[in-house]
Structures are given as C-alpha cells and as structure tokens.
Symmetry: C2
C-alpha cells in the first residue's frame, strides 16, 4: 500500500500541453500522424520522441497518433502539424487548439502476449483487444502481432465465438422486421468467383430479403465490393441500405461503409500486408459481418483446390465444421457447399473484368461463362431451399428459370438504380497478351500466382486492372496462342506484372497433347 | 511456358521516374519515409498510393521507403520530400535526383508465412529473412509478424543455430590475435543487475582480454550500454574499440555502433514495442553478438524469480540448455550461473542510478550495495576459472581481492579514459518519494511493475530517470516511510509514472510484522 503526493498528480494533469493544429495536407490513409518541432515545449516537457504514440484531444474527441519530429522550419512555434486522417478524426477547423499527452498504457497488450505464449483469449480479453483496435489505439506493430498470434496459435471454438462476438459488438448491428434474412459468403482464394451479385438478384427476384454487405479484397485481386463498385455505388450508409432493401428486397454494398464489424477492415489491411488469413480470423471475419447484418440463413461457398484458399477436402471439412459450429452458437442456420477450386471462375480476374462476366451471366449472353452461371445457380438454389422458399430438390431448377427468364437481370438493374445508378465497368488503358511458347494441353493453372499477376497489374485499387483468361483446363493450345491478357492502368504497373510473368512462365502448365 | 514481349519490359524499365530530392527535416528515426505529391507523374504512372513501399535509388545506393502523399503545396512539381533517415541512407546532397520504382516482391515473406503455420525455418530461409531485415526491406508489420511467429512457434535447436548464424553473418565479425577472449551476459529481467562494468574491470585487471559489447535496453529501463554511457562514451567504432582493448585488455561499448549482429537492433525495437522476447530470439540475440565479437569463453548470469525474466527453475533449466547447446555448436565454452531474482539488485533502476551503484562498488565505498558487489565477484570469479586464469575454487577469492585492493577501480578508470573520458552520471530534476501507507515487513517486490514505473518516468531514453529503492525484502517499515523515489527529467513523465503508481499501490507488498 504505497501512496503518492496527490497534489503532484493534479498539477501534472492541469499543465495544459496546448498546440495550434495545422493541417499539413499529408495523406497517411488510416494512420493518424502528428508532426511537432523537436524544440517544442510540449515534446520537452512530456519527453516525446520520434515514433512516440501521442494522445491528441480536441473538445470531446481524442485519438492516438504517431509522432514525427520536425527539425527545420515546417512548423511555427506552438504549432502541431496533422495528417489528413488525424485532422478529420479530431474534427478540427483552421486555428483550433489541441492538447497532447501520453496515452494510457494498453492493458490489452498483456492479453495479446499471453496468446503468443499459448494462453487462451477469453471473451473479456477479446472485447478489450477489439475495443483498442476499433479506437485506433493499436499501432501496426500491435496489429501485426495480433494477426500473427491468431494464425500461429489457432483459435479454438470458444475463442472463435468470442472473437466473432467482439467484432460484431464493436460496430453497428442491423435489425430487420422480417424473417428469414438470407446471406451468402464465398471463402475466397478462387479468382473470378464473383457469384454474389447474381445470387442476390435471383434471391430478391424470388421474394427473399438479402441485405448483402461485402468486403473489399483481403489478399485477392478483387472483393465483391470492389467488383460491385464498377456496376453501382456501394458506399451506402445504413439508412440508404434500408431504403434499397425495403424497395428491392436485396442490395450488394460495401460492409465497411455501414460500420458492420469495423475492426475487420483494420485487421484486413494488415492481413493483406502479411498475406496471412488464419482460420479463426477468417471465421470471425465472415460471421461477425453476417451476425451484425442480422442474417438468419447463410450459404457458404467453399472452393477446394491445390492453389485455392482451401487446398484439400480435409482442410475444407475442418474449416466447415468451425464455421458451422460458430454460426450455430449465434443461432444462424448455415450450410457449406464445396466446389471445384482448381482454376479461376469465369474469364476476368480484377474488379471490372469480373463485373463484365457477371453482366454476361445476368443478361444470359450466349458467350457468358458457363462455370460462373452454374455456380451461381447452385448457390441460389441451395439458398432458396435453406430458407424454405421452395421444396428440397427444386432449388436449382427454380434459380435457373429465374435467370433464364430475365427476372434476375431486371431485379439486378433495379437494385443498382436503387443503390444510386447503374455504371459501366471501365476498360484498362494498357493490355498485353501472354502467349504459349509451345503446343500442349492446359494441365494446371496456378490460381495464386495468377492472382498475383492481377495484383501487380494494379487490382483491386485500379478497378480496370487484372487478368483476362482465354483458356481453361483441358484446352488444346498452339504455340503463340494467347493464354491470358494482363490489363493495367499504368505502364509502371504493367511492367511490374510482366516482370513477374517473365520469371513465372509456368502459371499455365501445358502437358504434351 | 509463357512469354511476354521483351521490348515492353525494357521500355518500362527505361522509363526514368526521376524526382529532385528535398530534405524536409522530418525525424522518423530508423524508418525511411518519402513524401510525393498526389498529382505527381511518378505516382500516377507507377500507381503508388499512400503507404506504398517505394524503392528509391540514387547512384549506387537504393533503399525502400514508405510513401506518404501530399495534397497541399508542401512540395513543388518534380520534387520528392525525404525524411532524415532516407536522406542520409541515400547519401544525398541538396538538388540531387532520385528515381522511384516498385520494390521487388519479398520472397522471404513466404518463409515467414510458413513459420506462422508451423513449418521450420532452415538456414537458407533465415539468411534470406535476415538479409531483408538488415537491408530495411521489412516494414514494421513484417518485423512484428516475424517476432511474434518466433515467439508463438518456439524455435528448435537447429533454428536457433540458424538464426544465430544468420544474425552474426549479417554484420561485422571481430577476430582477435589472442585466446581466450572472455565475455559475460546477463539474461535480463532483473532491474539494477549491472555487474558487467565491474566484471570487465576485474577480468582485465587479471590480464584477461574482455572486449565487451553491450546492448541498450530491450524491454527494461536500462541496458548495460545505457548505464555505461553515463560513465564514458560507448559509441566506438571497431578501430577505436581495438585500440581500447589493446591498451587496457577490456572495454564496455555499445554493440550497435560496431555493427555486430545489426539485425538485432532492428528486431529489438519491435520486441520492445510488443514487450515480446521469445526464447529463440533471446538465444540468438545473446549468442550472435558474442560469436560476432569473437568470444571463446562465456559466463551467463541468469536471475530466477517470480517477476524476473526467467520465472522458475524449470524455465531456467530449459533456457540454459538452449543457450549452452547453441554456444557449443559454435565452439564457445559457456557456463550458466543461476542467481536470486526475487528483487532488484543494488538501489538504482535506470541508467544513471545504476551507474552510481557501479561506482560505489568499484570504489569500495562503505555504503556500496552488498548484493551487487557479491554478484559481480561471483561472476568474475567463475570467469577467471572458466578461462583457466586461476585454479578451480579460487576464483571468487581472487576477484574479491582485485576489487578490495582498488586494482579493479584503477583499471575501470583507465578503460573509461581510453573510451574517450570518464563522465559523472546525471541526477534527475524531478524526484518524488513513494511512501508506505501502513507498517509491515516487505514480503515481495514486483520487479516488472517497478521496471515499468522506471520506464514511465523516462528510462532508458532519459539517462537520469528511473527508480531509487530504499528498502529490500525483509525490511521492517513504519507508516510514511519512503519505499522508493521516482526520478524524472520532465514533469509530464513524472506525472505519468505517478499515475501508474497510484493504481499499482502493491508493487512493494508489506506483510504484518
């Protein structure tokens, strides 16, 4: 039982470390950065050094920012320079004053360390960690450690339930007046597998309620939200989303804009940099969004193949069990449908190229990719059965009929209009074919390296960038025949992708015919 | 077998993305940062976004920097702003031109991912990872993932040997004309355990060669280099170090300045932010430095206690076995000495406060801390025996005699002079006692939380900051009696430490007497 002089603490708290905020016009994305002079009185009195984490307060708002120190005359005495993200999060106007102080120590880091060394994370620990993540109190170093620990020390069932709940609770929760609320998710890893807009159109055309929120890409060249954005606005808030769903029964919007499971977007950014996406993180990422969105019935599409995200039937079984068990813990009726993951789906890889395939299927074009059409019909059919809309065994036929009749295409156009107006997917400025050196039969396609080509070409940030596949497994190829075309918006990115292609000349493997 | 148009690649490479470098005077420490205008032609043609990793080249030099984009008029067209670290690492002068391009994909990240999912890291993988770390190609996210993975997936013997070798090989290696070359290391976690300067003085006074390189603090309030720096310069290069050792037989310098195992300093910075220091990392950190320094005989001091780094005899045995086995793999004769780690050693915690204890022991002051003296004599005695300088069983008596006779103190003064001149440790401006609320006997002391108080007070960055302990285990305490005093250079840091003390009033636990 030790005490300190209470007056000393009060006088420390009272010392106002006030600086005039100055907007420097520096875009650091998500990361809040503050610039202070090295000789600034606040740095001296608080002992701040470059890379210190600093608590900035303006009125009711408070954020944690990374400090960089300025030695030259970028700033006047008494000024603090702010990155765009820091400026907006503090809600500043020109000339406003801010105070700078030490952030409180992050108690949740001891829970994270415990996990690294093998202790389980209970619900309270996960809530504490997720609250710090959502509030921006974790630096990139902390986020990367959390992602890595949850991949290296696989989460058990209770941890997955806890993480799912903590992630869902950390953002908005949607409630709907009707039941069932249906939803669909593809466990990624298969380029071009863009069935969601088609499934939503079929389900909504059949009278189901499907308020679909989708992610942007994690480690892939396109997420459904990236693809959909080339067809209609996707950054709708909750009120706008409700209006679309009330009118049309369905929507396809970006989940991040409605702050469903907002921690997910922060974690996804770091997962992307690490190319890590562990099972527990994956289950919680998928299900926290569905639970926050109010889903009651859920179809999970899981492609399996040697270069898909799920590589074997054993892995598919394990992941399915985790997903179904966690869904059950939240009262969600779910079903997993395994599919062939040996090659990309459709022709396009990248937001706009995949959107073109989606349009071809919805419009029942003669050259629509058959595989994409078939997958969408299978998933929509299962969803109709799961939700009790049709008899078991008749779902696929019903879905195919809704698509062939044009009802799904009409519904999709109405959804796009309700979301803010239909768009035409852009076409890339730079296009370069990659051709076969020799004759043969296509015997394997490396999804991962093909996705990497699309990413190096600029996808998903550049909507038009990606890869357009011209041949599929089993195709007979002549020397010089184009295998795929790289699409890019800039010569730099095209060159970057083609450099990679030059040293990876076996992405499409040819066997002697 | 696919090919691309070779002319296309060449034309991309030839496109010179040249910008005029401008020194912005922004201190980001280690991290290289480049600022470009959002509307800059290079950003547009290369597709760079905020937070992109960008390769910057000037003449022969090339670095990877993090990009921030500037929206206002901080920069003219055709300019790139550079942080201090980026400016110096590229060796720029005012007006110099630099080129910006995409960095090559980091192949070693796939090895890191493999480790996360349980695959072993072989020597080639570790060399590849460490080469990327030393070259600054890993971002904080990658470094944090590597540290976390090596803590969560404990390294086995071969991985520890591989990591030790890769770390030693990534920097300078010292060779000495004589044998034995003796060395000493304390496995940290015990505040105030600053025996090294005393052991070096005794060993060198006995004619041994002890070219000691020490670390700065990892997660503790002071490393030996931080403490020694308050007594003499420690940032000596290899030539200066050789001169000191040739003249005096010993030195105590900062290892980072001679680039022995330079990856260690990069990793330590992230370990510090995460407060993670796994066994494999610890073994490699300790031994890579000793091996690079050319040590042949090594004493390892390992304090054991509930709040020390090593908490139990079982943990001590496991860690000892790892250290000895890896040392043996490199032909180093090593011995581990376990010691009592239940409370801090000496009185001071923090660089200057610990240096005062060291001086008191070397000067044989009547009020010198007995425990620090005894530990130093034990370690020095073991080292004299291990190196064959004295008969087994006579080491401790010899060491005590060298200390009592003043020969160690003379030698230490000569070493300090040779390193650049002896200094007087500073005293902090702010000092605040923490007193007992009630009477009792000190029954336990929480080393970790006490170290945290010292760190919050500003240690190790502020040399004078830290904690001065007034009582030890078993002391009988009256109400209002000071238990320890917090030393700080700034009111802000003092307040921060005392805020923590206020909610941690049981760091010293008192039992009824």
């Amino acid at each position: 039982m030790n005490t300190t002089d209470p007056e000393r603490i009060q006088s420390t708290e009272a010392a106002a470390n006030t600086l005039r905020g100055r907007r420097l016009g520096i875009d650091t994305q998500f990361e809040a950065v503050v610039f202070m002079r090295k000789d600034c009185a606040v740095c001296r009195s608080e002992g701040f050094k470059a890379h210190s984490r600093v608590r900035l307060t303006h009125g009711e708002r408070s954020i944690i920012a990374t400090l960089y120190q300025v030695t030259e005359d970028l700033l006047a005495h008494g000024e603090a320079g702010l990155s765009e993200s820091a400026w907006w999060r503090l809600g500043l106007s020109a000339g406003d004053e801010i105070t700078a102080s030490h952030p409180r120590p992050l108690e949740s880091l001891s829970k994270l360390r415990g996990k690294v060394y093998g202790r389980r994370l209970d619900e309270a620990a996960l809530e504490e960690i997720l609250a710090d993540v959502v509030a921006g109190r974790y630096s990139d170093v902390h986020l990367a450690s959390f992602i890595t620990a949850c991949s290296a020390r696989a989460l058990d069932h209770d941890e997955m339930v806890g993480l799912t709940r903590a992630m869902a609770d950390a953002g908005e929760r949607l409630n709907w007046p009707t039941r069932p609320i249906v939803d669909k998710h593809s466990v990624g890893g298969l380029p071009g597998n863009r069935t969601t807009p088609i499934v939503v159109a079929i389900a909504a055309a059949c009278g189901l309620t499907m308020p679909k929120t989708s992610s942007r890409a994690i480690t892939s060249p396109a997420g459904t939200a990236d693809t959909m954005e080339t067809l209609a606005p996707v950054e709708l808030d909750i009120a706008a989303m409700r209006r679309v769903v009330e009118r049309e029964g369905g929507c396809v919007i970006w989940g991040g804009a409605v702050r469903l499971s907002p921690a997910d977007d922060t974690l996804i950014r770091v997962e992307r940099a690490l190319d890590l996406d562990g099972e527990g993180q994956l289950v919680a990422s998928v299900l926290s969004k569905k639970i926050a969105a109010g889903a009651t019935h859920l179809i999970l599409d899981m492609p399996v193949g040697p270069t898909a995200k799920v590589r074997s039937n054993a892995a598919a079984t394990a992941l399915s069990q985790s997903l179904l068990a966690v869904a059950r813990a939240f009262g969600v009726v779910a079903k997993v449908i395994l599919s062939d993951g040996r090659q990309p789906v459709g022709r396009g890889i990248g937001p706009a190229l995949e959107a073109r395939d989606v349009l071809a299927v919805l419009q029942a074009s003669p050259d629509a990719p058959l595989d994409l059409r078939e997958r969408a019909v299978t998933l929509a059919g299962s969803l109709l059965e799961l939700a009790g809309t049709v008899e078991i065994g008749t779902g696929v036929a019903t879905a195919a009929d809704v698509l062939a009749s044009g009802r799904a295409w009409s519904k999709f156009q109405r959804i796009c209009e309700a979301q803010g107006g239909m768009r035409t997917p852009p076409l890339a400025k730079q296009r370069n074919p990659v051709v076969a050196n020799s004759a043969g039969v296509v015997s394997s396609i490396d999804n991962r390296r093909l996705a990497k080509v699309a990413k190096l070409a600029g996808a998903p940030d550049d909507k038009a960038a990606g890869v357009e596949c011209h041949v599929r497994l089993g195709a007979v190829i002549a020397p010089g025949e184009p295998l795929y075309t790289v699409h890019s918006e800039t010569p730099g990115e095209l060159g970057y992708a083609l450099d990679y292609v030059a040293v990876n000349d076996d992405i499409f493997e040819l066997a002697e015919g």
